[in-house]
Symmetry: C2
Subunit: 251 residues, 2 copies
C-alpha cells in the first residue's frame, strides 16, 4: 500500500484503568489490538504509558521549594503541583497570565511540562514517560506484527487556540519526511519542506476518540511509506534544541 | 456515524494546474469529489484556492521599500519577495537566522506570512487567500452534499522540527471542540481541554498526499460529530489574538 492510498483510523476498545506495572501490550491486545496489517501504527495517549510505568506522583509527598511557592502565588496554583512541574523541567519558558510553559528534561516545550491531573486519582498527578521513544520501542516489540508505535500528548500552540496531539515518542515510523532537496512540479527546490509525519499521525488518531471515553489506543492503517522495519530515530528527531529556539525564556 | 467510529482519509485525483478564475468546485467534482457522504470534509491546500482567486504576485512588478531591502540583506533573500511578505503582514514576529516569521493581516503567524514560491510559475509568488473562511464557505456551497470544507496550509512550529498542516479556513466544521467545563472519568473538571479539530483534520489529510503529487484535495469521512449544517465560526476561531500572544515581537 502506498501513502497515496487511503488511510483508515479506528479506535480500539476502551482500556481498563491502567496501573503501575501493568503490561500495556497485553491490555492493547485485549482491546482488539491483536492484528496489525503492514503499514499500520498504534497510537496511544502518553497517559496510559506513564501510568503503566508508574510515572505518578502523590502531591502529599511533595515539599514545594521557594521557586514553586513563588510561582504558585503568581499563577494561583497548588505549589506542590508546580514543584513536580519544576522537577520535570530544565527551563521555564513563560509563567504569565496563569500559564506555565516549560522545557522538559526531554527537550519538549509544553504547558506544565506535561504534568497533568485529569484522569488521574485525586491527590496525584502524572508526568510524561521518562524516555517516550524507549517506551514506544518496548511496546512495539511486544505487539503482534510489530506496528509502528506513537506515544501522543496534546500540546497547546503559541498562536492558535485549542490543543493538537503531537508525537512525544515513536518507533518504527519515519518521524519527519524530509523533502529538502526535492523539487516541486515546476522543478523548483522545495526549500523548507520537512513534514512532521509522526505529529500528523498523532493528530489523525485524536479525531476518533473522546478525551473522556477511555479509548487511549487508536490504530492508523495505510501509512505504508512511513512505517519502517527498524525502530528509527524516534520522536526526539522532532524536538528543536534550545540553542535553535527563537521563542525561549525571556532574556 | 459517531466520532468514535472510524475515519477514512482518501485523496482525490490530481487537479490540473489551477489558474486565476478557475471554478475550483468544478475541478474538485471532476477529480472525483462528486459525492460526499454525511459527516465528511473536503480538505484543500490553500495554494489551489489562492491560485483560483488570483492571489499571485509577479515579482517583476514589485518595488521593494527600505524595510524589505534591509530585511533582504539580513536574511539573504530576494527583496521583492520580502516586500510581498511585508505587504501581507501586520507585524514581524522574528527575523533571525534566515527565518522570517510574521503575523498576517488575517491574524495567522507563519513563516513568510504564508507567501510561497513552490509550485508557482517562475518569477511569481502566491499569497494566502484574502479571507480563507469566506473561500471555504463559497466552496462548500458549490459542492454536492455540502461537505465541511477545510483550507489547509503547512506551518512550522517554534519548538518542533517539521511542518504540520493547519486549517487557515473552514466552513461547516466545528473548529474547536471545547470541553472546558466537562469532567474526566473521575469527575474532575477538564480545565484546559479545547481540541483543535479543524487543525487535526488538516493534519490527517496531509498524510495521504505528497507535496509534489498534485493532489491538493483530500476527503475525510467519519467526522459526524463535528460536521455542522451551519457554516459555523470558521477557522478564525483558532487564531489567538495579538493581545493574548506570549510569543510576539521582541520588546
Amino acid at each position: 500500500m502506498t501513502a497515496d492510498a487511503s488511510l483508515r483510523v479506528r479506535p480500539l476498545a476502551a482500556l481498563p484503568e491502567v496501573r503501575a506495572g501493568d503490561d500495556l501490550a497485553r491490555l492493547v491486545r485485549d482491546a482488539g489490538g491483536d492484528a496489525f496489517p503492514p503499514g499500520s501504527a498504534l497510537v496511544v495517549s502518553h497517559k496510559v504509558v506513564s501510568k503503566a510505568e508508574g510515572a505518578l506522583v502523590r502531591l502529599a509527598d511533595v515539599t514545594p521549594g521557594p521557586d514553586a511557592l513563588a510561582l504558585a502565588e503568581r499563577l494561583e496554583r497548588d505549589p506542590r503541583l508546580l514543584q513536580v512541574v519544576l522537577d520535570e523541567s530544565v527551563a521555564v519558558v513563560r509563567a504569565e497570565r496563569g500559564v506555565l510553559i516549560c522545557r522538559t528534561r526531554h527537550g519538549l516545550v509544553a504547558a506544565h511540562a506535561g504534568v497533568d491531573q485529569s484522569n488521574v486519582p485525586d491527590g496525584w498527578c502524572v508526568t510524561l514517560p521518562r524516555d517516550p521513544d524507549a517506551s514506544a520501542r518496548r511496546l512495539r516489540a511486544a505487539l503482534p506484527g510489530r506496528p509502528a508505535v506513537v506515544i501522543a500528548d496534546s500540546f497547546g500552540r503559541p498562536w492558535r487556540h485549542g490543543q493538537a496531539e503531537v508525537a512525544i515518542g515513536c518507533a518504527g515510523l519515519t518521524p519527519i519526511d524530509d523533502q529538502r532537496g526535492g523539487v516541486d512540479r515546476d522543478g523548483r527546490e522545495l526549500v523548507a519542506t520537512q513534514i512532521a509525519i509522526a505529529d500528523q499521525v498523532a493528530a489523525a488518531a485524536d479525531l476518533v476518540r473522546g478525551k473522556t471515553s477511555g479509548q487511549p489506543a487508536v490504530v492508523v492503517e495505510g501509512l505504508g511509506r512511513w512505517v519502517t522495519v527498524d525502530d528509527g530515530p524516534g520522536a526526539v528527531a522532532l524536538r528543536r534544541d534550545a540553542d535553535e529556539d527563537l521563542f525561549g525564556p525571556r532574556a
